[in-house]
Symmetry: C2
Subunit: 332 residues, 2 copies
């Protein structure tokens, strides 16, 4: 059983994922399957994955057979396990609980050779809708307080399979950085009676020096204080607290903006490894005014990582204004 | 001029280090000088570095010539610059200040082929004393509030030169994670009237399942809720608020423990890239009871990084009890 443990000083929970337990000798770098015949996410290899929990199948084909456009499956090596109670307990001054949660994989396309940026805008919309569909289902489980949606692209960004996919983890705790964002948003709201994200969007549109895209419902920016070169945020222009409450029109706009942003980052930075993370309001917090869901995208370009991990203090060689200028010149 | 910028939501400062400014094409991986004749940190190459600000020279040799055992120099490519005022200012809802600070490099040994773990315990003590000497000097500058001491070992951990060295950055702000530790320590102290680190040390010694070393003045542990496999903390047993206030005896014990821990990690994990970071009380906070300096060491073994960077939520495949058992079997 995986275990959640809380750092008693900072209050940060970590997942000790014993199921993935590794002896030190296992840390040698793993080679990736370049042969798509061995890829469990490929069309025709459905028998190599756990049974699907959701799929888009236009031809009425049966589950776990060919005929799909998108599949969602439980992760074969889950960080958290779906069975069991939380069982919070202490060990002297320390706190732990069972590693209960859901860990699913969204196989975004049957085609091994395509990245998310290569898919049609409509197809990316289907990916977003798959996230929402699964979140609405997982949200019914009262043990879960948050759902993380993220993508690792490229080995350096943590992807163990190259076939385009993203992941979701429903957790019994709210991650620390989401809590901090909520808290920051709350303080700002109490002072200004306005959402800080809405104010950032207004300022970015009016300043127009870090903006890299806008359409009717969505903006993309290089944030003012980015941790990483070419860190990019995509935000709905209207105030929407939780990702899964997004309206159809905004989703359509979001899909097309995401495609454009990912394509430009790929062209500008020569297909960099990257992560994206959907930041959304926790399920246990009903206050809708001070949080605003958005997606954060981090190309992995710099190696100066350990220091930053250890201190939370980031050194970024690229000003966001310069990154924005560069991205705005790209025509992918 | 580098710039400090504050994320308006979370309140995290970042350094936008324009001096190190890179165009996207510069992010291709840089090759490291394998030929020590080109290494600016090597004995005889003193003319290749900025003039030293501190050195240990036993033979009365002149500064910036051979004859040294250890040198401290300003970083040639500083993240922060020593000249200038703070000039805090706003940009709409955003905050920034000048990137004022000091960035120095401690060349730990003249020998290109030796790691820190290879040096005599007495020599490591000299390295610690060099940190302290420089911190006491930098502390006189009222613009600075904190001094980060850290080491990047190996390219994957951010080292751009392989010759053994560590770094210090004096900053006009206190890094977020240090603030959080201070805050966590304060809350615990208010509740218990005891230092949380002292309590952790007592529990770890009595449980003896995550302890990997103890001597009269220092303990080394795998912490209860580690973010990374084989994350290791080394702490003075006595309550000492700031690193630079450490007594001679504790420093001697610390040097010998650090040598033992680094040697065991190297043997156990096949010379992994790693970072160490000295966590010490900020210069602006006089409250000595609720913070306890220590060193945190992170071998870089896992690649699942972007997700963790984005959320502060870490997935660690190796329980600390297992890492401790493994390290305790090692005889380097």
């Amino acid at each position: 059983m995986p275990e959640l443990r809380k750092d008693p000083i900072i209050g940060r929970w970590v997942i000790i994922s014993t199921e993935r337990g590794k002896r030190p000798s296992d840390f040698a770098s793993e080679s990736k399957a370049k042969d798509n015949k061995l890829c469990p996410f490929c069309y025709g290899n459905e028998h190599l994955t756990p049974p699907e929990v959701y799929a888009i199948r236009s031809d009425g084909s049966r589950p776990n057979t060919p005929g799909w456009k998108l599949r969602v499956i439980p992760n074969k090596y889950p960080a958290l396990k779906i069975e069991g109670d939380l069982n919070r307990e202490g060990e002297g001054i320390f706190d732990r609980m069972n590693g209960v949660g859901a860990h699913e994989v969204i196989i975004e396309s049957p085609d091994h050779m395509k990245d998310l940026a290569d898919l049609e805008s409509k197809h990316i919309e289907d990916v977003l809708k798959a996230f929402i569909n699964r979140m609405k289902d997982l949200r019914k489980d009262v043990r879960f307080r948050y759902c993380l949606v993220f993508k690792n692209h490229g080995k350096e960004a943590g992807a163990s399979l190259e076939h385009t996919h993203s992941q979701m983890i429903a957790t019994p705790i709210v991650p620390k950085s989401v809590m901090e964002e909520m808290e920051g948003g709350r303080k700002y709201y109490e002072y200004k009676e306005r959402c800080i994200f809405c104010d950032i969007i207004r300022q970015e549109i009016s300043q127009n020096i870090r903006l890299i895209g806008q359409n009717e419902n969505v903006v993309a920016i290089e944030p003012f204080a980015p941790r990483f070169p070419f860190e990019t945020w995509v935000l709905p222009r209207n105030h929407i607290h939780r990702f899964e409450d997004t309206d159809e029109e905004t989703l359509i706009s979001f899909a097309s903006m995401l495609k454009s942003v990912l394509a430009r980052l790929r062209t500008a930075l020569n297909d960099p490894p990257f992560n994206f993370i959907v930041h959304t309001g926790p399920w246990i917090d009903g206050r809708k005014n001070h949080y605003h869901w958005h997606m954060e995208i981090f190309p992995k370009l710099t190696r100066v990582a350990g220091f930053e991990w250890g201190t939370g203090f980031y050194i970024n060689p690229t000003p966001p204004e310069e990154a924005a200028r560069y991205l705005n010149e790209i025509n992918p």
